[in-house]
Symmetry: C2
């Protein structure tokens, strides 16, 4: 590589707190991809360019390569700060920020995240997934549920993000299951029925949540009937309480669930159990479509 002609037309980058993922893009779509654990959370400002080059060097040619990036790379502690666009607004703003780079073969554009004044909230990365979904379903009027460490519920109408809310459910589960006294009650066992029961418990009586966690430990100590179901119950209680708090978002609404893997499946099960019928959307596809839409609109400037 390093030849006169480039391997790619442009490079798509999803750069989160823990991971970096890149795709070599042509008009037809992605032709190659790579990833590393060089997430924004571990990098000093001067380390971003080398971390990116580690992955994309083989795809570069003599001409400057457009790189379109979304995610925490644009945070204040990231490579270069891309100030938030305030909702209501379209999901992706073209007010990108361009960090200084040493390597003249790179022209990097970082997409801004979104902010909401009240209740205070922010997102970085999800806005690009939303744009990707709307590129496919431009008339969408409803709710996007985006499961993750910090799950987002997003109200979309007329091509704009109207409002959104972040729940730290995934992070709470990780902290409680590995860092609290409940870790002694966790095993590898997973019980789907216990999960669904716990979702219902969390959803029907969310104010009792604070008093339920220690019960998971006590059930184990006392050999109670739910012994061995603590992991599924903890997950279900937390997701159920989230569904209760997010009910104004999803109840009676059209719902698209942008996620992947096991966690998206849990949210789908929980919502389906409550009579909702979420449309499942692959989050990687949505990210790539969103970055592609931004590239198409930025191309004249690149």
């Amino acid at each position: 590589m390093g030849s006169e002609t480039s391997y790619a037309d442009w490079i798509a980058v999803d750069w989160g707190t823990s991971n970096l993922r890149v795709w070599a893009m042509r008009a037809s779509g992605p032709v190659a991809d790579a990833r590393s654990d060089q997430g924004m959370g571990t990098l000093e400002p001067e380390a971003f360019e080398p971390a990116l080059l580690d992955l994309i060097e083989p795809w570069l040619g003599a001409a400057p390569m457009p790189v379109i990036a979304c995610g925490m790379v644009g945070a204040k502690q990231g490579w270069a700060e891309a100030p938030y666009a305030a909702v209501p607004c379209p999901p992706v703003s073209l007010a990108t920020v361009t960090p200084n780079v040493q390597d003249r073969r790179l022209v990097v554009h970082i997409l801004p995240g979104l902010s909401q004044a009240s209740p205070a909230d922010v997102m970085r990365g999800e806005e690009t997934q939303i744009a990707g979904y709307l590129a496919d379903v431009p008339e969408f009027d409803g709710i996007l549920c985006m499961p993750g460490t910090h799950t987002k519920w997003v109200q979309v109408s007329a091509g704009e993000v109207v409002s959104f809310r972040t729940f730290m459910t995934g992070e709470m589960f990780a902290l409680l299951s590995t860092g609290s006294v409940l870790r002694h009650s966790m095993d590898d066992h997973w019980d789907d029925a216990a999960f669904q029961d716990a979702v219902r418990d969390g959803l029907s009586d969310p104010q009792a949540l604070a008093g339920r966690f220690f019960g998971l430990r006590a059930e184990g100590l006392l050999g109670a009937p739910r012994e061995g179901k603590a992991r599924a119950r903890l997950s279900g209680l937390l997701i159920g309480a989230e569904l209760a708090a997010a009910k104004p978002y999803w109840l009676g609404q059209r719902i698209a669930l942008l996620g992947s893997g096991r966690l998206a499946g849990l949210y789908a099960d929980a919502l389906t159990g409550e009579g909702a019928a979420p449309e499942m959307v692959d989050v990687t596809d949505a990210t790539l479509r969103g970055l592609t839409a931004a590239y198409a609109r930025l191309k004249d400037r690149l």
Copy 2:
């Protein structure tokens, strides 16, 4: 020391997960005390006796010394398991367990904790504090609030523990403020008014709790009016949500608050803000009175 006559009549021991505290007791009360960080959580079974001797050796004489201990030392992973007594029952059972000891100068009795079948719950150590409080106020009919890493709400009537509920509020605060993304928004600032506002928010709308945590982070990122108040707000939201869930316990009830230091003060402020009038009881005094009451009843057996 080490003389024919003992320095103490007996030795009182409060042995928790993180700390060990001992008192040399005479009929008049404590004459000396000592403490270490040799909590039950760090000790293998054979390490308990040396950890105890480290602190009490100077108090021993030729005759066997009665040692009355409460707390996690009686857990399955402790020195010797003292099986739970099931509520409803008096707070302290005399079904103590006596671990094997090498040193013939020691006769150790470990007091059992309490368990509740439904909802499943357990305590170890608090039962002795409850007994201590009831030794002073035997006619008490009401609620004990016992703030800690795991706060207990205890319904007491006719000298018995009727029911209780454990809240992991203190542990949740520690995890969220030091281990989650919210740690970036914590500073040393404390705002009493923000705490009280957050207690009210948590209490009046506990089902919204799950959606409020990330707002503490976003407020900091966006320079919102509540920037810098995240620590007090996180504490207030958690305690407010606990008060909401525990409302069947405390609303309209006589309340004694057994605690110490800053955390007890926060619970007192929160309860007082809701129109309750908790009686403040020093938890160390209650522990010693409870151990003394158990010693008095066990003395014939020792």
